[in-house]
């Protein structure tokens, strides 16, 4: 892991409030693995801590981040332009052992809102697996729904949902997923899931995991991260075996292990 500066090579809005940002990095591109993230040190006056972003995808030596404008930091990032420099620290977090997914008959990726961000990178790695591959993507409205074309190309069957019903099924994506399990009479143990999204989604996914006895569920969590280096001990999440640091033992955790307050 290193701290480095790179120029933005692409930055464009892809959906409502959702932006795709790419920077060239011959250091990061060959090293980063699915599940990992970078910290970006913004020079914005009112932004204090660095902001963590999961790696969306890597194409040759260009690293892409997909982010949603949520506050002043992400707005500042969205307001930057091609050619401007970013100060980046990465790769951070633990590499996700995606090969562990290979032993399941069915592999499911679930993204809630901007939780879709890390799934493209992972989906690409999974493209070679012979398992059945499914992608569930949900968002609040059609305008915020990001369905990545590349995931279809990697062999994923795609299910979508929006909270207001403006695209795909109406409802939250975890409910859509659990209805699918019910309808298709899927045996939970044949299935593994990788999810990413807000905390509420993780909690409902854990309930589905336990109801249907799903083989394995991993979840990539979000949390305020101060240092990203394991120094401040600030990004703890509670698990059955005590507190774990999101920046070191995560951000991907075995969902069954996580304790919700």
């Amino acid at each position: 892991m290193r701290i480095f500066e790179e120029k933005i090579v692409t930055l464009r809005q892809v959906r409502k409030k959702i932006f795709l940002l790419g920077f060239k990095s011959s250091y990061l591109a060959p090293r980063a693995q699915p599940g990992q993230f970078v910290n970006i040190y913004l020079q914005e006056k009112d932004v204090f801590l660095p902001r963590p972003f999961s790696i969306h995808k890597i194409e040759s030596d260009i690293v892409y981040l997909l982010f949603k404008v949520r506050g002043k930091a992400t707005q500042a990032l969205a307001d930057m332009a091609k050619g401007e420099s970013l100060r980046i620290c990465g790769p951070l977090g633990k590499k996700f052992d995606w090969l562990a997914m290979a032993k399941y008959k069915r592999v499911v990726l679930i993204g809630g809102g901007i939780g879709i961000a890390p799934l493209s990178f992972l989906g690409e790695k999974l493209s070679s697996l012979s398992s059945q591959k499914l992608l569930f993507v949900g968002a609040a409205t059609k305008k915020e729904l990001v369905v990545k074309k590349e995931l279809r190309n990697y062999g994923f069957m795609v299910y979508t949902a929006t909270l207001d019903g403006s695209a795909g099924e109406k409802g939250d994506i975890v409910s859509v997923f659990s209805r699918w399990l019910e309808k298709e009479r899927i045996k939970g143990k044949d299935l593994c899931v990788f999810g990413c999204g807000p905390w509420g989604m993780a909690e409902s996914l854990q309930r589905v995991e336990r109801t249907y006895k799903i083989g394995k569920v991993w979840f990539s969590f979000e949390r305020v991260i101060a240092c990203g280096l394991g120094v401040c001990r600030g990004c703890a999440i509670e698990t059955k075996s005590g507190y774990k640091l999101l920046c070191q033992q995560g951000p991907v955790f075995n969902l069954d292990e996580v304790v919700f307050a």
Binding site: R2, F48, C89, V231, R233, G234, A236
Partner: protein, 300 residues
């Protein structure tokens, strides 16, 4: 130019990485040039391992952060075992330690005394996130007793870390020195609270409050540094919200022998190096042979 001496101890620069913001140094290997840092203060250790406070533990506010980490650490025995690898870092190592009860301090001090290569102990009397009762550093009497007990156990260099949350910080500082502290470290964080108006709950975990650090507290910390310096002229490791070399210099002018860089390490793990270069250039430009010439030079 930036070398500093306190009694017979040499520091390559007046910059100290504050406890809890640089881990045990190893986390920052390859990112930080430790030769430019005078000392690294470890994360505070306690007698037994502590799992820390319930999350969320960090909340960003204007010009700072509120934290409630709760001294998560692996305990004294771990540190003792680990120390030989810590000392490979090319800077002075200060081990910070704390205890929930008075008796614990001298037990830990005895344990640390056995580490031959360890020279500096920082007694954290002021963590805002572990005790429900008052902080030790809020009582001159308790401060005196604890430091005195530690002094009986060890000849090592003792630094007492004070809280800014007192009516008279000079009174506490005086007691710490009278009990045998070699230097004082200030300031620890200020009690702070932020509320989510929708849930009416605090933003931090189950402990409502946390400790505020960052640029927001700089003027408060500077004031306390000057108060102690002008009354006691003791060696001070002072800081609070230092982000750049100008901030560091302000603390030196107010009497700091060494300055501590804390929260800035999160914003930029290389903050220490940048401050080092800035101070060096300043001294060069102003024909200052050694930074100590500026110590306590506040014109009032």
């Amino acid at each position: 130019m930036l070398r500093v001496k306190i009694s017979n101890h040499n520091f390559s620069s007046p910059l100290v990485l504050a406890a809890g913001t640089a881990g045990f140094g190893q986390e920052l290997r390859g990112l930080v040039d430790f030769r430019k840092v005078g000392a690294l203060t470890t994360k505070t250790i306690t007698l037994k391992p502590r799992s820390g406070n319930p999350p969320p533990r960090i909340f960003e506010v204007d010009c700072g952060i509120i934290n409630s980490i709760g001294l998560e650490n692996k305990g004294l025995a771990w540190l003792v075992k680990k120390f030989s690898s810590l000392k490979k870092i090319s800077t002075q190592i200060i081990v910070s330690f704390s205890s929930e009860d008075e008796a614990g301090f001298s037990i830990i001090a005895s344990g640390l005394d056995k580490i031959e290569d360890l020279k500096f102990l920082e007694v954290n009397l002021s963590c805002p996130n572990v005790r429900k009762k008052a902080l030790f550093a809020q009582s001159p009497r308790q401060t005196y007793r604890i430091i005195k007990d530690i002094r009986r156990k060890t000849d090592k260099f003792i630094i007492a870390k004070l809280s800014p949350e007192v009516t008279d910080i000079v009174a506490v500082a005086r007691k710490a020195l009278a009990a045998g502290a070699d230097a004082l470290s200030l300031v620890n964080t200020f009690f702070a609270l932020r509320v989510d108006i929708n849930t009416r709950r605090p933003f931090l975990g189950r402990n409502a409050s946390g400790g505020l650090s960052g640029p927001a507290i700089k003027p408060l910390a500077l004031y306390r540094t000057w108060q102690i310096y002008k009354s006691l002229r003791a060696p001070l490791i002072a800081g609070g919200g230092i982000s750049n070399w100008q901030d560091a210099l302000e603390f030196i002018i107010c009497g700091a022998t060494l300055v501590s860089i804390g929260t800035a390490n999160f914003l930029n793990p290389q903050a220490g190096e940048n401050i080092y270069e800035g101070l060096k250039n300043f001294c060069r430009r102003n024909k200052i042979d050694n930074i100590r010439e500026l110590r306590g030079s506040l014109k009032v």
